[in-house]
């Protein structure tokens, strides 16, 4: 059951990721990105990491919503939607990249197996995975966590400065 669900959602994630790149319409691309993130969240649920799954949807769905609004408000959609199909060069590049990816996947299979063998033990020591994440974030990874938050704060301030300069 878990295997099939993994392949289902993994497949959906990969297909919609490819669709995101291939779609001409930016709105469709943004939507495909949402599908990618939701199916990734479902994969997290399969791994028993419900907290991560919920946060993934909340954070990324919100973020892509903003992206989506930018697309609608700032781009003139008619000029963006070009009618021609993929060019030859792009097609070749895509197929090359695809083959590379496939090889990587096959090679990575072994690594995934090793990872899968070790994942459940690490989580099972703590009562729920919200607690597990919190404990790790605020003890072992406290410094990186705080540094990330300062980085985000700097980004916000920077955005404000850039936006304020116009008027």
């Amino acid at each position: 059951m878990e295997q099939q669900l993994f392949w289902l959602w993994g497949g959906i994630a990969v297909i919609s990721a490819v669709m995101m790149i291939l779609k001409r319409n930016p709105v469709h691309s943004a939507l495909c990105l949402v599908v990618v993130f939701v199916s990734l969240a479902l994969l997290y649920v399969l791994l028993g990491a419900e907290f991560l799954a919920a946060v993934q949807v909340i954070v990324y769905a919100g973020a892509i919503m903003v992206l989506f609004l930018f697309v609608i408000m700032l781009l003139n959609l008619e000029t963006e939607v070009r009618s021609q199909g993929l060019s030859r060069v792009a097609f070749k590049a895509c197929s090359l990249a695809g083959t590379g990816l496939l090889l990587l996947l096959l090679l990575g299979g072994g690594a995934v197996k090793a990872l899968r063998a070790m994942a459940p033990e690490q989580v099972s020591g703590v009562p729920g995975n919200t607690q597990a994440v919190a404990e790790l974030l605020f003890t072992k990874y406290l410094l990186p966590f705080e540094v990330t938050s300062i980085l985000l704060l700097a980004a916000i301030v920077g955005a404000l400065v850039l936006a304020g300069k116009r008027d």
Binding site: V27, F51, A61, M65, L69, G128, T130
Partner: protein
């Protein structure tokens, strides 16, 4: 999982879904009736006793209306968006606990569809997905009014989602868990007593999240006709309409669970208490609609970012300090 367990889970899901739809239908009746009396009218009276069959008549009428897809609409998204809104609204009810448990033929049946570790976050995740339905509806129907309504809705929901999330953190700090049943179990004293400001912010944001008056700008009929769903007809329109009420019920249930002690209460069985609390909240929603005029758009944005957001943050800090001092 045994066959019986699967059967019970399925039965619970179906029963809760049907009950939710019934509640949705009858909250439209309640709204029209209450609004009517508040405006010194009678509300629906003709269909059935005190107009009780009115929602069913409305439903049948909507089914037989012509189903229109506007020319120039993005057909796929146009059809998809009411579904997204409705699914997100209905799926949220799954993690809300209605009561403790009942005994059926020696089987303990817990009165909730799913008892998830991250229940509260799950509801927030679904509500952040439901924004897509509204925005896409506005964008895909190829109409200026609808687009403006959709844009307004998404801007409003994004801004108020943050304050909603922050407003309940105080409760989560008291309960020490994201699981709705734990939160209910922690309320020997209702959290509204410990978190009055949190409750206030939560309720205000709930109005905005449901696009209810006084925050019903996305469907401001004076400027935008009815906003994002202007081009929808028949059951597609009905889905938006039902989703709005379903969303209201979910938010009321969430408020009851987080702040009003959930199913807990003396004498009466838990589920009765829970329904009473939910419908008290619904009544409050309608009451507000009858009382206050609509905000202007800039007022709405300013209020969200400059008042609710800082106050919610401050509430967290104060709660933290209080918990350190008084244990």
């Amino acid at each position: 999982m045994s066959l019986l367990a699967i059967g019970i889970a399925l039965a619970k899901a179906v029963i809760v879904f049907v009950c939710l739809l019934l509640c949705v239908a009858y909250s439209t009746w309640l709204e029209r009736k209450v609004l009517g009396h508040m405006q010194v009218r009678c509300g629906p009276l003709r269909v059935g006793w005190y107009g009780l069959l009115q929602p069913i008549a409305d439903g049948i009428k909507l089914f037989f209306k012509e189903d229109i897809v506007v020319s120039g609409a993005n057909k796929f998204l146009y059809i998809l968006s009411p579904m997204i809104v409705m699914i997100a609204a209905c799926a949220s009810i799954a993690v809300v606990p209605f009561g403790d448990y009942i005994d059926v033929f020696g089987q303990k049946i817990y009165l909730r569809v799913a008892d998830v570790d991250i229940g509260v976050l799950y509801i927030f995740a679904l509500s952040s997905l439901s924004v897509y339905g509204i925005t896409l509806a506005g964008w895909s129907s190829n109409s200026k009014y609808a687009l403006l309504g959709g844009l307004r809705a998404s801007a409003q929901m994004i801004s108020y989602e943050l304050a909603t999330g922050l407003s309940i953190i105080g409760v989560l700090m008291h309960a020490g868990s994201l699981r709705p049943t734990d939160i209910v179990a922690g309320q020997d004293i209702w959290y509204i007593v410990k978190q009055p400001i949190g409750f206030l912010i939560f309720v205000i944001c709930a109005f905005a999240e449901c696009n209810r008056s006084p925050f019903d700008l996305p469907e401001a009929e004076n400027e935008l006709v009815p906003g994002f769903h202007v081009e929808y007809s028949s059951m597609k329109f009905a889905l938006f309409f039902m989703a709005e009420y379903a969303h209201m019920i979910v938010v009321s249930a969430l408020a009851a669970t987080l702040f009003l002690g959930g199913w807990r209460g003396p004498v009466l069985p838990g589920i009765v208490w829970f329904m009473l609390k939910v419908f008290a909240m619904m009544f409050f929603f309608i009451w507000i609609r009858a009382t206050y005029p609509r905000f202007r758009y800039d007022q709405l944005m300013k209020f969200g970012w400059k008042v609710l957001f800082p106050v919610a943050l401050l509430n967290i800090v104060v709660t933290g300090i209080g918990m350190v001092i008084w244990g």
